[in-house]
């Protein structure tokens, strides 16, 4: 740019000032333009000015962040576990595997419960989606997806359909037929289309809407019947790995967590990001609301689980131990919210006392990473899925 002794290839009207001058053929945002050297210099200076403004903006952003942290810290008058000292400690837990579901040919990646409290749907790296009656351990339906790594699956509220997807970047809905001989794959409906893998999906209160999250950094709400995009949610700067809808009957919000270490709370109506939390040191693999809807827990590759409260707009508890080295892949609450079940990449499930912050049990059994943990709708059991190809029901 500084070297003025160039050979002018063309002579003509400048695209910018329209004067007849020797022109420089340059590219601006991949478009070829012809500017005279004066206009090129002016543009370069403006570019510099723009650059400076970004710096001042970033500085402003940093100042605001510090101020926000200060304001929040003022309200941090006590720790949750300190207040929880006055409540009774929980007794000894006897949690055992009550059922083992074998049948997947490869890693189990996701599981979801049916509202009937005993059926589950699971998906696997082998491309299969299986619906089980977990109580009897019978397989009731099986679908083979066209792609491997089916990372997400969900049961419809009616119990009449399941949704799943993964490396195919889509979320498809399969109605469950009572006729065992019917080919479920034939009735498949493609609902969601992302530009990268589908990491998680969840029906809203009805069979008619699905919320999805993707490796493309976005979440989206879809109308099942038409496949139309109802709302998209932009704000994460990396893959979104998990989402969870707020439990309230009147709720219109959900929380998502991703590889940008952020957990974001979204308004489903406007698509706006209403709250954001960034205290984890690595990817957030799982997010789950506390049953009252006032808080949510996260599980991360930094080997910790954390509790964030929406009214305090702050992290309020960390669940970690020196001996827990590997990441937490999945978390879920017991019905009262007193217990947090967390599956880890070290093949175990740790059970945490949410209020006191202590670990109340460590569950061995799986022979490879635990990839997913889900508590049943009535809280009588939880299901864990693992890279050892099995699912276990614990109670």
């Amino acid at each position: 740019m500084c070297d003025q002794t160039f050979l002018a290839i063309t002579f003509g009207p400048c695209d910018n000032c329209s004067q007849n001058k020797p022109l420089m053929n340059i590219y601006l945002k991949n478009e070829p333009i012809n500017y005279c050297s004066l206009c090129v210099e002016l543009m370069a200076c403006q570019g510099l000015a723009k650059g400076e403004t970004i710096h001042t903006l970033k500085a402003e952003s940093e100042t605001l962040k510090t101020k926000l942290e200060e304001e929040r810290a003022k309200l941090h008058d006590v720790e949750l576990h300190q207040v929880a000292e006055k409540i009774e400690a929980l007794g000894q837990f006897v949690m055992k595997t009550r059922r083992t579901l074998k049948g997947h040919g490869n890693k189990v990646l996701c599981v979801d419960w049916c509202r009937d409290k005993r059926r589950i749907v699971s998906s696997s790296q082998d491309g299969k989606v299986i619906v089980w009656d977990a109580y009897t351990t019978n397989k009731e339906h099986a679908v083979t997806m066209p792609c491997t790594w089916v990372m997400a699956c969900a049961y419809a509220p009616s119990g009449c359909a399941v949704a799943c997807g993964g490396l195919d970047n889509k979320c498809s809905v399969y109605p469950l037929s009572l006729d065992k001989n019917e080919n479920l794959a034939a009735k498949k409906k493609s609902v969601a289309m992302h530009t990268n893998y589908l990491s998680s999906c969840s029906f809203t209160n009805s069979d008619m809407q699905i919320l999805t999250s993707s490796g493309d950094g976005t979440c989206a709400l879809w109308d099942v019947e038409s496949g139309q995009l109802l709302q998209s949610f932009h704000g994460h700067s990396a893959d979104v790995l998990s989402l969870n809808l707020a439990p309230s009957e009147t709720g219109n919000t959900f929380v998502s967590g991703g590889c940008d270490k952020k957990a974001n709370v979204w308004d489903m109506r406007s698509g706006q990001n209403v709250q954001s939390f960034e205290t984890h040191e690595s990817d957030i693999n799982s997010v789950k609301y506390y049953p009252s809807g006032d808080a949510f827990a996260t599980g991360s590759d930094d080997a910790t689980c954390r509790l964030y409260d929406l009214r305090a707009d702050r992290e309020v508890a960390i669940y970690s131990k020196e001996s827990i080295i590997f990441g937490a892949s999945s978390v879920d609450f017991s019905l009262s919210g007193r217990l947090l079940f967390a599956g880890y990449n070290d093949y175990t499930i740790n059970v945490w006392d949410v209020l006191k912050g202590t670990r109340v049990a460590i569950l061995f059994g799986h022979e490879n990473r635990v990839s997913t943990v889900r508590v049943s709708p009535d809280g009588t059991a939880f299901c864990s899925g693992s890279w050892d190809n099995t699912l276990r029901i614990w109670a």
Binding site: I54, N205, G217, N252, Y290
Partner: protein
């Protein structure tokens, strides 16, 4: 190791790989391994005499377990064994006489892996390397280096796969043997075992977990293909293309001006937010949990017993029955949400509202909930129906809205959508919550269910019909009163 990464940070070289999930775990393990090998604070690593030979640089499994329990705050030896086995399975230490990488709490001898072979060096050794290794093993005439069955099978498979370049592999193996011979005997023992342990990680015994398997969602973010080490013996397999997991990250990660402006807007909104004190937050969380503790099957043993434990589905059958149990009725009293969540609760509340002639509120709320669940193409029509039934002039089930909400809703209906009635629904919900719902909880109907007042069969029959009579009389009287009022005004 932790120190090293700190220094790296100070110099300002941000290694993006340090952030990757695997690397975080590796650095923690390396910290433990370093402490384990500390001269004063670590485990006793020594040479053990065995028959006619000496076994250099080993430590017993139980020593490791003891150290872990003491230094990592572990109470249960099972936990220490578990973590130790994982550390072994990752490739940081190994039993000298077994291909299977686990930790045992006994006299089994273990050795630490050489940093050269650590997983944090991003090893992805190729099959040519493995072929060279197995080939070299067959050239060394020592019983302790004999191939295991699965290794012999692997070698046979590789010989078929690399048939055309087997001469080259053979030569490389010979070269490696020559290099190895030059080493000191003790050093050779150690290095041989470390090399074997390396391959136990990358080509595990069939049936063992392959700890090098990666979560495909995280693969894309290994930004530096240059860091990946593909060959132990300096041989690069030119037939293999670049590993598909190392495609460069698609997201640029650079903040545009727009991004920063959005962030500033967001931060300002957050600053305006009125937040709750931690002490208050803690109290509310505790109160909620306390209230539901009796309903949490993991904390309070359910009655009848948990089906998963007792193999008896009575618990579920009772929950599904229309006859609600006392605890279930009690739950309706926790919040309006709870009452509405339970279909029987909803029904009871509706019945009560009918008796108060304010059922249109709940009917409206339910209709709007249903609207939000409809497929997109049905929404507009359904919204109009709701308007006609509850809000329009002369609506059969007219609800009472303040003029502001009414205006807004009316505006929304010009372009009807799933959220057209949000304001109205919110208003009605608050009304029910503060007004009808508390009265419902005080009502005889609810109290009867709550206190499980069981009436004897015949009396119940009579009372119900008497109640029915008095209610119908009451209704007609009230309606007469209303019309009377309207006429007079």
């Amino acid at each position: 190791m932790a120190q090293a990464s700190q220094e790296q940070g100070a110099v300002g070289i941000a290694d993006p790989d340090e952030d990757s999930p695997n690397m975080i775990a590796y650095r923690k393990i390396e910290d433990i391994i370093t402490r384990l090998q500390d001269e004063t604070e670590g485990v006793p690593v020594r040479t053990v005499k065995s028959f006619l030979s000496k076994i250099p640089s080993v430590v017993t499994g139980s020593d490791i377990v003891q150290w872990m329990m003491k230094n990592l705050n572990i109470d249960d030896p099972a936990e220490a064994i578990h973590i130790g086995s994982l550390i072994a399975a990752q490739g940081y230490m190994f039993p000298i006489s077994d291909h299977v990488l686990t930790l045992k709490d006994d006299g089994t001898l273990y050795r630490f892996q050489a940093p050269y072979f650590w997983p944090s060096n991003c090893w992805e050794p190729e099959n040519t390397d493995y072929a060279i290794y197995l080939c070299k093993r067959t050239m060394q005439n020592k019983t302790r280096l004999e191939l295991a069955d699965y290794e012999a099978e692997n070698l046979a498979r590789l010989q078929r796969a690399f048939a055309r370049k087997w001469e080259f592999i053979f030569m490389q193996a010979e070269a490696q043997v020559k290099i190895d011979r030059k080493k000191d005997k003790t050093e050779r023992k150690i290095v041989d075992s470390q090399e074997r342990a390396f391959w136990d990680v990358h080509r595990p015994v069939p049936g063992c977990v392959n700890t090098t398997e990666m979560d495909i969602r995280k693969c894309r973010r290994l930004k530096n293909p240059q860091r990946v080490k593909k060959s132990v013996y300096g041989v690069v397999d030119d037939t293999q293309t670049q590993s598909p997991v190392h495609t460069p990250s698609q997201q640029s990660g650079k903040d545009t001006r727009e991004d920063v402006e959005k962030e500033i807007l967001f931060l300002n909104t957050q600053l305006d937010r009125h937040c709750m004190k931690m002490s208050k937050v803690a109290e509310t969380l505790m109160i909620y949990t306390e209230q539901y503790l009796d309903y949490d099957p993991f904390v309070t043993l359910p009655d009848p017993a948990n089906p998963w434990i007792s193999d008896d589905v009575t618990f579920w059958e009772l929950e599904a029955s229309k006859d609600p149990s006392q605890p279930r009725v009690k739950k309706w009293g926790f919040s309006l949400d709870e009452a509405l969540k339970d279909p029987v609760g909803r029904e009871q509340f509706l019945k009560f509202l009918e008796s108060e002639f304010s059922s249109e509120n709940l009917l409206f709320w339910l209709a709007v909930q249903d609207l939000k669940c409809r497929p997109l193409q049905e929404v507009a029509a359904r919204a109009q129906e709701i308007w006609q039934e509850f809000l329009a002039e002369g609506a059969p089930n007219a609800i009472n809205l303040d003029s502001h909400s009414y205006e807004r809703t009316s505006q929304n209906l010009k372009d009807p959508g799933r959220y057209s009635f949000e304001d109205a629904q919110d208003h009605i919900y608050k009304l029910m919550k503060s007004d009808s719902y508390p009265r419902f909880l005080r009502s005889n109907a609810y109290q009867d269910l709550l206190l499980a007042r069981k009436k004897p069969e015949t009396e119940q029959g009579r009372r119900t019909s008497l109640e029915k009579f008095t209610r119908s009389v009451g209704k007609s009287l009230t309606s007469k009163r209303l019309t009377g009022l309207m006429q007079s005004s």
